[in-house]
């Protein structure tokens, strides 16, 4: 009887948990990881002048994008969409942090990132570091970046998706390029709730 009183609530909890995950998987617009793993930690130089450490944002939903300030097409679109989503979230926006890590640390200084991101949304934080540091972060997230061309005007072909990290620091979802601001609003609202 004693076991039954422990097992029944446990089973009910597991069932509810599984149902919640299944419902979330069905409902999110983004791709879902199951089970969600801990988002790889990183510590790089932040565009706000402070060290940018992922775990400092526990309690917020982190929207993590990779790109570079000279990107001609993908990054401006992604950041504009994220800025629009952030505005649409209104009061909930304070519980969300957009982080933009450069794939081009050679050109993207902290100051340059700050100036670039401010044009989209001044609350966005950029991150840069040494080549080795940024390569290690990319590897831990499975992000690809490859230099194309030579000279000062080289480009960087890079992964265009955006990661959604839960308040608990779990890497929960991946939004492919091309989604609209409303899709981000939808998914971020779900993760916040």
């Amino acid at each position: 009887m004693r076991y039954a009183t422990r097992i029944v609530p446990l089973c009910a909890y597991m069932l509810l948990s599984m149902t919640a995950h299944a419902a979330e998987a069905d409902a999110l617009k983004a791709g879902i990881f199951n089970p969600a793993r801990d988002a790889p930690e990183f510590s790089v130089r932040g565009s706000d002048g402070a060290p940018l450490i992922l775990s400092r944002y526990r309690g917020k939903v982190v929207v993590l994008a990779f790109g570079y300030t000279s990107c001609p097409n993908v990054c401006p679109v992604t950041l504009a969409v994220l800025a629009q989503a952030h505005r649409k979230l209104a009061a909930l926006g304070s519980q969300v942090q957009v982080i933009y890590l450069t794939v081009d640390p050679e050109r993207d200084s902290a100051e340059r990132l700050k100036q670039y991101l401010a044009a989209f949304d001044p609350t966005f934080v950029g991150g840069t570091g040494t080549d080795a540091q940024m390569a290690a972060v990319r590897k831990s997230y499975g992000v690809t970046a490859e230099k194309v061309g030579t000279g000062q005007d080289y480009a960087v072909a890079h992964s265009s998706f955006v990661y959604l990290i839960t308040r608990e620091g779990k890497l929960r979802a991946l939004m492919p390029f091309g989604h609209k601001a409303d899709d981000y609003v939808h998914d971020i609202s779900m993760l916040l709730n």
Partner: protein
């Protein structure tokens, strides 16, 4: 060569084949397309990494995947191997799955190190809503399976 009316078995066979083809085409055109699940599943089996390390060529994920809105519009990738793998667009841990739904028809490009081209394409077609569309959809599906 004898005329057809002198070889009735041939005429019967021709009529039977024509009737069967016509029946199949009618069924393919007018029967709604349904699947038990909307998920197109690809899985990295256990031991894949070891086989690759041993020099074996292992192809799991095609470089081009076809999905159809409303019918089969969710890509489900599973890593059952013992090591992390870049699978499709993302890095997946052992035992992890990645479920990606699509809501818009189009061609989606993903970087994918599992392929020699470094790219994977997911082609998402609109749901066929006419008899001709269903017929073409079914014919294409058979062709892709056979090819």
């Amino acid at each position: 060569m004898q005329p057809l009316h002198k070889r009735p078995w041939m005429a019967i066979a021709a009529v039977t084949v024509a009737a069967a083809a016509s029946g199949t085409a009618t069924w393919a055109a007018f029967t709604p397309i349904t699947f038990g699940s909307r998920e197109e599943i690809f899985e990295i089996p256990k031991g894949t990494w070891a086989r690759r390390m041993a020099g074996n060529k292992v192809e799991i994920l095609p470089s081009r995947i076809y999905l159809t809105l409303g019918i089969r519009d969710v890509l489900l990738l599973k890593n059952q191997d013992d090591v992390p793998q870049i699978f499709g667009p993302t890095l997946m841990m052992p035992g992890q799955s990645f479920r990606l739904p699509f809501e818009l028809a189009g061609s989606y490009q993903f970087a994918c190190t599992a392929h020699a081209s470094g790219q994977m394409t997911v082609v998402v077609d609109a749901q066929p809503d006419t008899p001709w569309g269903r017929l073409v959809w079914r014919a294409r599906r058979i062709f892709r399976v056979v090819a």
